[in-house]
Symmetry: C2
């Protein structure tokens, strides 16, 4: 079963070029996932009743056109499949002309929030009959490699970065890596593909370091490290404006 949700790009969602940021789009995709899971009985609040929650493992987004400020978009979403360990949810982003302007694939796990351990999805009610099997015609989110990279920024995680679980909000990771790209590059090139792997949660007060590596100014690789371990890996592929 597919369903569509409508959004309007707000002033706080856009960058200096009036285009929705990758962080804002990611946030809209996660909101869409939340709405759709909620409506069908397997949202975070349903999982919370059994001390469980969803954890986003990987996300890949491919954009043809970035929506502009005040533009209305519609996001179609469905669950592709559910295995024991993970589930895949897909998204198509449409503009008001019913043109597909972007696509996304996300992988999720269910964890027990007390034991912080991955749970078997076989027994989760409601989601299995909901999976359509319909694949997305784009490369799935891959396991990103460790990079060398230069240190782009370092700071402590603050009050405004954390969510209701005391973990860094997914949107912040996307902001932090987006901030590594020189503003002149944003003027010359647009983002074609974005991939992110969430490896480890980052808590309030932890010291994070953002590392960036640009392979020829079009294929950026990022790592967010806390202490000496990798918490998040990301990749942004850009293409020159025509």
């Amino acid at each position: 079963m597919k369903k569509s949700y409508s959004f309007q790009i707000q002033p706080q969602d856009v960058d200096f070029q009036h285009k929705a940021t990758l962080a804002a789009l990611t946030n809209i995709l996660l909101t869409t996932a939340g709405f759709n899971a909620d409506e069908n009985g397997f949202g975070i609040r349903d999982l919370n009743k059994n001390d469980c929650s969803w954890v986003l493992l990987r996300l890949a987004v491919e954009m043809n056109i970035f929506p502009l400020q005040y533009e209305k978009i519609s996001i179609e979403t469905w669950v592709e499949e559910v295995s024991r360990a993970t589930t895949t949810r897909n998204f198509k982003i449409y503009n008001t002309n019913n043109q597909i302007i972007g696509k996304a694939v996300s992988n999720w796990a269910m964890i027990n929030i007390i034991e912080r351990r991955a749970q078997d999805l076989s027994g989760l009610n409601g989601i299995h009959q909901f999976a359509t099997g319909e694949k997305m015609d784009m490369e799935k989110p891959s396991k990103l490699h460790v990079i060398a990279g230069r240190l782009a920024d370092t700071f402590k995680v603050k009050y405004s970065h954390i969510d209701m679980n005391g973990h860094t909000n997914s949107m912040r990771y996307v902001e932090w890596v987006s901030d590594c790209i020189d503003i002149e590059i944003y003027k010359q090139k647009k983002i074609k593909r974005f991939e992110i792997n969430f490896v480890n949660e980052i808590l309030f007060g932890e010291e994070v370091s953002i590392f960036a590596d640009d392979l020829g100014n079009s294929d950026f690789r990022f790592e967010i490290r806390k202490n000496e371990s990798v918490a998040c890996k990301a990749r942004i592929v850009m293409t020159p404006y025509p």
Copy 2:
């Protein structure tokens, strides 16, 4: 003429206590102002046609109850008055029981975006007949004093901080001052009143310093400085949980 707009508090709007953050509420208030001005012919896009725009000068927010994650709120807004230099817009925040959970008063000026100069509001179409004269039963936003304060943070303004004009987004100022308050204080006290004065815009790449001064842990004063000048002053008054 008054009008109400509905919102739902989303996961990214709440803090570790599941309550909407001051930054998220400020953002919702500014979105409400934008919707209402747009619908009545004096929104930013209307002003842009004459190379003008709205600039938020001051905002005061008083909260009785902070809405929680997924809570639906409704914001009633109206223009109180329009003088030559500024206009006042008021807000009442309701929960689904039709109880007033918060109030806000905002002061705005119109500037010419090319000359960066304040404009006379006398000639602005549509807004004068729209002003109701109805005051808000709360203290207006005041001119905040310069503080001494300790240096709480310093960094460069990044891509994710700026809006479509290349200026720091108002929401970021609220996040930056909110981040100065110790997380233990958030557990013991709630925010009763928030005031902010926008003095000078902050541009991409500028070095900002956040200064904080707490007058007995309940009346926090803040200054955001760029170079040696004050760009923003703010105040957060807290009260212990009953």
